[in-house]
């Protein structure tokens, strides 16, 4: 039996090397097919009429004129009259037509009347006392919020018992909750909860104050401190702005079989979601995706528009219907990263040792309020008092955004710590280093990463006390931040077949988000089987293949690399058993290397891979490697350090990033090149949210003011500075196994850039993005304070 472990460093032929992605050529040449590119013959085009109001009730819908239009093949009401709509851009009616202009004309011909209801799109600081007082019965949102934010079961149960609920608890609902892993105790409490339907229509405060959390003795901690810093920090709601917008093409090969080409982060997870909505068996749903143009946490569901697309196709006799969101719909409805702000007080002894933290934080994730950032971030300060208020708004629904809650937590914590370092007259690198023992299990890695990052940045030469004193309007400064993430591999199944002719193929329901998943699978398989990567055919992205986890939470690399490794080792076990007699050896004495199967102690006794596979006889061998499974191939928990060097034009307020550094560990690196690419991409995305991105809503109309890429700006080529990435690949890290990397490096850039700007201009710009007007306003305040 094989021992399930990674090959020793000297034996690795591909793992850990710098290998170009296998889909690079098709992507740069435009041959890669995205869901957007699926254009079968007879394709119909979908369009969706969207609610123009931030909060309204649909009172009537008249589709008769649209239905009569030539070229209209189906009309589907998505949200019936009577429905309460909670954000601008929510789907109301969908149509399918022979071409896009006709579909758009039909949308314009539909009459929808609304009762406009009062809205709130502001996530400004809650007034004193907001959200206090007795909480009424729990709504579905309250429950979802509690469950989604890991509120302890005991608390949820006691809330259900004390407060009751405003909604009818159905079997479908409890079944669904069970499916999400909600405990029986909570489900029983939910079933037993008192039902208060009348409370559902009562106006609710937009503020939900969560229970205060205390650790140690914060009062004593602050009293013992020699230096205390106070400030307010935060990051606004931003969107995912996927370059390939959300959407799908759906068709019905027969009356109860659905085929969807969907832009998704979780192929295997789609059938069940379609099946529930369309009332067909999940096994009758086939989902397919070759390539995806970005998801970042926002593409796990078919969404209302996806279900509507499938319904349109059904009404149109099963013909394929494609509907991909327009850019404005994408920005308005397809995902918002919750905002988070905090008033922070943080204190240290004179030598820089952190002693106490206090934060009053708030933020919104749309109608459901949203979760709280993990504060204080990375540093377990001994004495803490924390209080979070979730603000319910008509912002559009929150979705996970690359490392949910962490970039916000980093901005709040690392900027507060940087301000404290300034008050202590300490170099932030020394100040952070002084407190690294508070970082828990990752402390040893931070102790290596921090000095390394400082060296790559040239920190010693560049850092100066706050405020660049040089002549002229351009000021320069450096800043830093640290972060952490889990990243344990998800459930994965790798079906690997070796054929008597020597060919090898792999089938997995996983998907390649552009992170290099295809390449990683092939590297592991080829390294393990001792054959070249191009000798293996890889099939992914289809529900016809064994199910695999969704690509979220940086879980894919751990999942697919370990299931593939196990599959390859299992396959070799079986192959060696067939080949051993021919080599007059025991199976355990064989190895597969350099395109041969050979005797370990006497490599000249060998068969070529092809000859060896011929010993299989008539039947291929087929195995399924799984994760989780035997052996320790994966792990969880990474640390990382980010640093920024910026120039600020103090006359125009423009911030220019000169250089970014990322030092990152992620256990055993499968492909150094794509691992570094993840970090480069994360740094660029970080520059984007640090300087530009914000979902701006008009308080009066509740509508989004920047639903286009002129005013919802992303970083472009001209914004990208020198990027320096260093992956920690020493044996200590490698021995931990494979750990996910997609999210962590995007966490620090916002805080690092904010700290660099403070270092350059001598004053804190409290909120991201660091737009010119905010920079100038901070400078003006500083001048006033100085005068």
């Amino acid at each position: 039996m094989a021992e399930y472990k990674w090959p020793a460093p000297a034996e690795r032929t591909l793992i850990g090397k710098r290998i170009s992605r296998v889909d690079g050529a098709v992507k740069v040449s435009g041959h890669a097919k995205y869901s957007y590119d699926y254009n079968p013959k007879g394709l119909l085009f979908g369009k969706v009429l969207r609610c123009p109001h931030a909060h309204a009730r649909v009172t009537s819908i008249d589709t008769s004129a649209a239905e009569k239009m030539a070229g209209i093949k189906a009309v589907q009401i998505v949200q019936k009259p009577g429905t309460e709509v909670l954000w601008q851009g929510d789907d109301i009616v969908a149509v399918a037509a022979v071409d896009e202009p006709t579909a758009e004309d039909a949308i314009r011909a539909i009459q929808v009347k609304y009762e406009v209801l009062p809205h709130n799109v502001s996530d400004a600081e809650p007034p004193a006392g907001a959200g206090e007082g007795p909480a009424g019965p729990m709504t579905e949102d309250d429950l979802e919020n509690a469950l989604g934010n890991q509120v302890p079961d005991a608390q949820v149960i006691s809330d259900l018992q004390k407060r009751g609920v405003t909604f009818q608890v159905t079997d479908d609902m409890t079944k669904e909750l069970k499916g999400y892993g909600v405990s029986d105790a909570v489900i029983n409490a939910l079933k037993a909860a008192a039902y208060h339907p009348e409370a559902a229509s009562q106006p609710r405060s937009p503020y939900q104050k969560m229970a205060a959390q205390t650790q140690g003795d914060p009062d004593k901690g602050f009293a013992s401190a020699e230096v205390t810093s106070e400030g307010v920090y935060g990051a606004p709601v931003i969107t995912h702005c996927c370059l390939e917008t959300h959407g799908s093409a759906a068709e019905w090969p027969s009356s109860d079989h659905l085929l969807v080409h969907c832009s998704t982060q979780g192929v295997s997870g789609l059938p069940d979601q379609y099946a529930q909505a369309l009332k067909i068996p999940a096994g009758n749903v086939r989902a397919h995706q070759d390539h995806i143009g970005g998801g970042f946490g926002s593409k796990f569901s078919p969404d209302r528009w996806g279900i509507a697309t499938a319904q349109l196709s059904k009404s149109a006799g099963g013909k394929p219907v494609k509907y991909m969101l327009e850019r404005d719909s994408e920005l308005m409805t397809a995902g918002a990263r919750p905002s988070a702000y905090a008033r922070v007080k943080v204190a240290a002894k004179g030598d820089g040792t952190l002693v106490a933290w206090q934060s009053d934080s708030w933020g919104t994730g749309g109608p459901a309020g949203a979760g709280s950032p993990p504060l204080p971030y990375v540093f377990e300060i001994p004495n803490q008092r924390k209080q979070h208020t979730a603000v319910r708004t008509n912002q559009g629904p929150a979705r996970a955004w690359r490392a949910p809650n962490h970039p916000q937590a980093a901005v709040i914590t690392m900027c507060a710590l940087d301000d404290l370092a300034h008050k202590l007259n300490m170099d932030p690198v020394e100040f952070f280093a002084k407190n690294l023992d508070m970082t828990g299990p990752r402390a040893p890695i931070y102790k290596e990463e921090l000095p390394l990052a400082a060296e790559l940045m040239g920190w010693k030469q560049k850092w100066h006390p706050r405020g660049d004193k040089s002549e002229g309007p351009i000021k320069r400064g450096v800043g830093l931040s640290m972060h952490t993430w889990g990243g344990r591999g998800h459930a994965s199944n790798c079906l690997l077949s070796i054929h008597p002719d020597g060919s090898v193929d792999i089938k997995m329901g996983s998907q390649d988000l552009g992170t290099g998943t295809r390449t990683a699978i092939l590297i592991v398989a080829a390294d393990s089987l001792g054959i070249p990567m191009n000798a293996i055919t890889l099939n992914i992205g289809d529900t016809m293949y064994p199910p695999d986890g969704g690509s979220g939470g940086s879980t894919t690399i751990g999942g697919v690399s370990s299931s593939t490794r196990r599959a390859a080792l299992m396959a070799l076990d079986q192959l060696f058993a067939k080949v051993a007699p021919a080599l007059k050896a025991q199976p355990a004495d064989l190895e597969a290397r350099d395109g041969t199967v050979r005797v370990k102690s006497e490599p000249s006794r060998s068969l070529s891979w092809k000859q060896a596979c011929a010993k299989l006889g008539a039947m291929p061998l087929s195995v399924t490697g799984k994760n989780p499974g035997p052996g320790n191939l994966i792990n969880s928990g990474v640390g990382g350090v980010g640093m920024a060097d910026v120039s600020v034009d103090t006359e125009t307020g423009i911030v220019k990033v000169n250089k970014m550094v990322a030092v990152q560990d992620c256990g055993l690196v499968i492909n150094l090149k794509t691992a570094e690419s993840q970090c480069y991409g994360a740094l660029i995305m970080g520059i984007s949210y640090a300087l530009y991105e914000e979902k701006v809503l008009d308080p009066v109309t509740g509508r989004m003011l920047n639903p286009n890429m002129e005013f919802y700006r992303l970083a472009g080529l001209r914004d990208i500075p020198e990027l320096m990435v260093h992956m920690m690949t020493d044996p200590l890290n490698e021995n931990r196994g494979v750990i996910g990397l997609g999210e962590p490096p995007v966490i620090s850039p916002g805080a690092a850039i904010s700290n660099a700007v403070a270092n350059a201009i001598g004053v804190r710009v409290p909120f991201l993005p660091l737009t010119p007007d905010r920079v100038l306003a901070a400078l003006e305040q500083q001048q006033k304070a100085g005068a």
């Binding site: 202009p101 125009t652 920047n706 002129e710 700006r713 472009g716 914004d719 010119p772 007007d773 100038l776």
Partner: protein, 284 residues
Amino acid sequence: MIPASFDYESPKTLNEAITLLASREDAKLLAGGHSLLPAMKLRLASPALLIDLGRIGGLDYIRDSGETISIGALATHAAVAASRLLLASSPLLAQAACNIGDIQVRNRGTIGGSLAQAHPSADYPAAILALDANIVATSQSGERVIPAHSFFTGMFTTALRPDEIITEIRVPKTAGSGTVYKKFHHPASGYAVVGVAAVVRGATGKIDDVAIGITGVAEVAYRATAVEDALRGKPASAIAEAAKHAADKVEALGDNYASGDYRRHLAQVYTRRALQEALSSKRK
């Protein structure tokens, strides 16, 4: 993002175009299409007939007319930016043109289209105003010469009558003056958040005359007369103080990228930077 349907004509001569334009009220001229087509896709404009000027030959010249340089309305931004004639004897317009949008926009967009569009953040208007250029409009009743200062009448509106086509732009030569176009690009669209066009005549250290056109700040580009008045006959050291009047009495536009206050502030900073640069560039 789909325009409403429309008819399309592509006349071969200016006369045909003029006749077509006069014959239909719901017609619009199409030049480079880089303002009109986006507006049609957003259904901000839904003309029933497009008259494409692109097939009319000989309207894209840039030639020396003695005191002035004459530019045909269909000259592209790229042609203006690269014109040796302009660069040698009236560079300001070329300096503005090379700042417009990106390569694709410069290769398709035309000077006539840009002026007729009168976008509040377009680049040419600042230069046209600072140069006191003239715009020639042609209709069935003949040619009419419109001076720059009375051409731009409001946001997206000009002194053009519905039946007129811009055929030529006449710019004076600026030999002996320093000219600079200083622009703060909108980071996504490339339009001017603020654009300052400056023509400065004077000996080293002293300003004899100065003309400043500013775009992007207000509904229409304007001449910064307060700055001009404060500088005529003054030493260069007066620039910093004078530039503070760059947006005096101007009602500034604001949007979600740049507020009105921020634009006024930028106008001051960019006017100062433009004047200082123009004065030093002059010596070349």
